[in-house]
């Protein structure tokens, strides 16, 4: 059972207390959390500045000198691979007077020269040289204290996370519960996964949390918002809610992460080897991957995987992912598989940018990778058949709660079933559909960070 935690009272300018906006015990969240500019400012300080945030995938910067520019909250960062092969995440703000040092989105460079006064940094953030240094400063500046601000950086199954918080646990510790599932989704194969880039990006006129909390566990909307899948014969039976009764929702109370694993095509696992062939091919791979998967997964993980899974979830706060068998969208091309990373980058209380990368198993043949990439982007990309409807529904949601009455309405999370005691994985698991506990857990973590 989710419970309240001890908290500090933080007041918004009109006297409302932040801890009065969420009730975990009574399973509601005030709509104001999606509209208030002061809460947004608090989120930047209390969430994005303190937790591990996804900034890119290792395969976006494969070679020394490669870099991309990204954001942690509203802070721009450079994500670069240095000459020795390590990944560095640095604040893209010059130590002189705050100019943006790197003004492109990707490239390859050993150094970055600030456009304003030409201070030169290397891609670890070290200040290498200052334009006309002796004329300007004599020998008076200690360049060692003037590096770009460095974030702690760790790659995890190819995903690059960064945090400004020196006291955050290590990423491995942070994911100690959920790694059971993330190994299945992101670390299933010896060769790992690569992203197709550059990321697809588009703006949505909604609060970032609509996307993040939805993907953490809102299976309930799928058969309604995306019912075109059934109507057009792309996934027959999609709009029948009983189809999803095998969905298991799992959340991690500590991190706020939530995911849903569905056995859409349940497989008889009494013959494990045979089941593994079916479940592996259903998860977008081929039979040749079975031996390495069986080596990489524990018996408990295999118990989950062998039944045949689809997965979707959110790594708190903003990185979501989906991996499931999916129609290519072209009846002649038939059925394939989609796997994507999806980031909701906040721009303000009612605006965010979606970033999407198809995520592809590196050791698949090129033609199959291309097929999965097209399958992913046609439904989950900028013009995604699935994405477009979510964007519209959330857009209408945002507009409806903008007023004084609207923001006082409460989002409800009443759907809840008992915990599944037989689930072989960690975290809090419920095999029930629909269930809104994952989303309530997202809010529990949000509240904890916003008030602690």
């Amino acid at each position: 059972m989710l419970t309240e935690r001890r908290f500090t009272t933080i007041l918004l300018p009109d006297g409302a207390a932040v801890d009065e906006l969420v009730s975990i015990d009574d399973r509601w969240v005030a709509a104001r959390v999606m509209t208030d500019p002061d809460l947004y400012g608090l989120e930047l300080a209390r969430i994005f500045d303190r937790v591990w945030v996804f900034v890119g995938h290792e395969t976006e910067i494969p070679n020394p000198g490669d870099f991309v520019t990204r954001y942690i909250g509203a802070d721009p960062v450079i994500v670069a691979r240095s000459a020795d092969g390590d990944v560095h995440v640095t604040l893209n703000v010059c130590s002189h007077r705050g100019a943006t040092v790197c003004r492109v989105e990707c490239g390859n460079a050993a150094t970055f020269r600030c456009p304003y006064h030409a201070w030169v940094y290397d891609n670890t953030g070290e200040l290498l040289g200052i334009f006309a240094e002796r004329d300007a400063y004599g020998d008076g500046l200690d360049k060692g204290t003037l590096s770009l601000k460095r974030a702690r950086t760790t790659a995890y199954h190819g995903l690059i996370f960064a945090t400004w918080n020196p006291d955050a646990p290590s990423l491995a510790d942070h994911f100690s519960t959920m790694d059971f599932y993330y190994r299945i989704v992101f670390g299933l194969t010896d060769g790992g996964f690569e992203v197709a880039g550059p990321p697809l990006r588009w703006v949505e006129n909604t609060n970032w949390k609509f996307a993040a909390e939805n993907l953490s566990g809102d299976g309930y909307h799928l058969m309604n918002v995306h019912k075109f899948l059934d109507e057009l014969g792309l996934i027959p039976g999609w709009s029948d809610p009983t189809m999803a009764r095998g969905v298991t929702s799992v959340y991690d109370r500590r991190t706020g992460d939530g995911l849903q694993m569905a056995h859409f095509f349940p497989i008889d696992t009494s013959d494990l080897e045979a089941a593994m062939v079916t479940s592996t091919t259903l998860f977008g791979l081929t039979e040749t991957f079975v031996p390495e998967i069986m080596r990489r997964l524990s018996a408990d993980q295999l118990a989950v995987f062998a039944k045949g899974i689809s997965a979707a979830g959110t790594i708190f706060p903003t990185l979501s992912y989906t991996a499931l068998p999916w129609p290519t969208g072209d009846p002649a091309e038939g059925f394939s598989f989609m796997r994507a990373l999806r980031l909701a980058q906040p721009l303000g209380p009612d605006r965010h940018v979606v970033w999407t990368w198809p995520l592809l198993a590196r050791d698949l043949p090129g033609e199959e990778k291309e097929r999965q990439r097209r399958t992913t982007l046609r439904s989950f990309g900028t013009a995604g058949l699935v994405e477009q409807d979510d964007a519209e529904v959330w857009s209408a949601n945002q507009r409806g709660i903008a007023g004084v009455q609207g923001r006082q309405r409460r989002f409800r999370y009443d759907a809840s079933r008992p915990v599944n005691p037989d689930w072989p994985g960690p975290g809090v698991a419920r095999t029930a559909f629909p269930d809104e506990d994952n989303q309530l857990n997202f809010w529990a973590r949000w509240l904890e960070l916003m008030t602690a």
Partner: protein, 64 residues
């Protein structure tokens, strides 16, 4: 290998001298100089790096 600094291009960042102080020095105004000696093998690698990192491309070598 021999190395040259183009004084007209140099803008006094001092990156070269911090990488290889045995080859590069800063004059009284803070701009780079080098004497015309043949580099030792130990110096060659760091001179290549200094040439690559000079933002003004003021360092040249006689390597093809």
């Amino acid at each position: 290998m021999r190395v040259r600094v183009d004084r007209a291009r140099c803008r006094g960042y001092g990156i070269c001298t911090s990488i290889e102080p045995t080859v590069f020095a800063l004059d009284d105004d803070g701009y780079a100089t080098t004497d015309d000696h043949t580099l030792s093998p130990a110096e060659v690698e760091s001179v290549r790096r200094a040439a690559k990192l000079c933002p003004e491309r003021a360092i040249s070598t006689d390597e093809p």
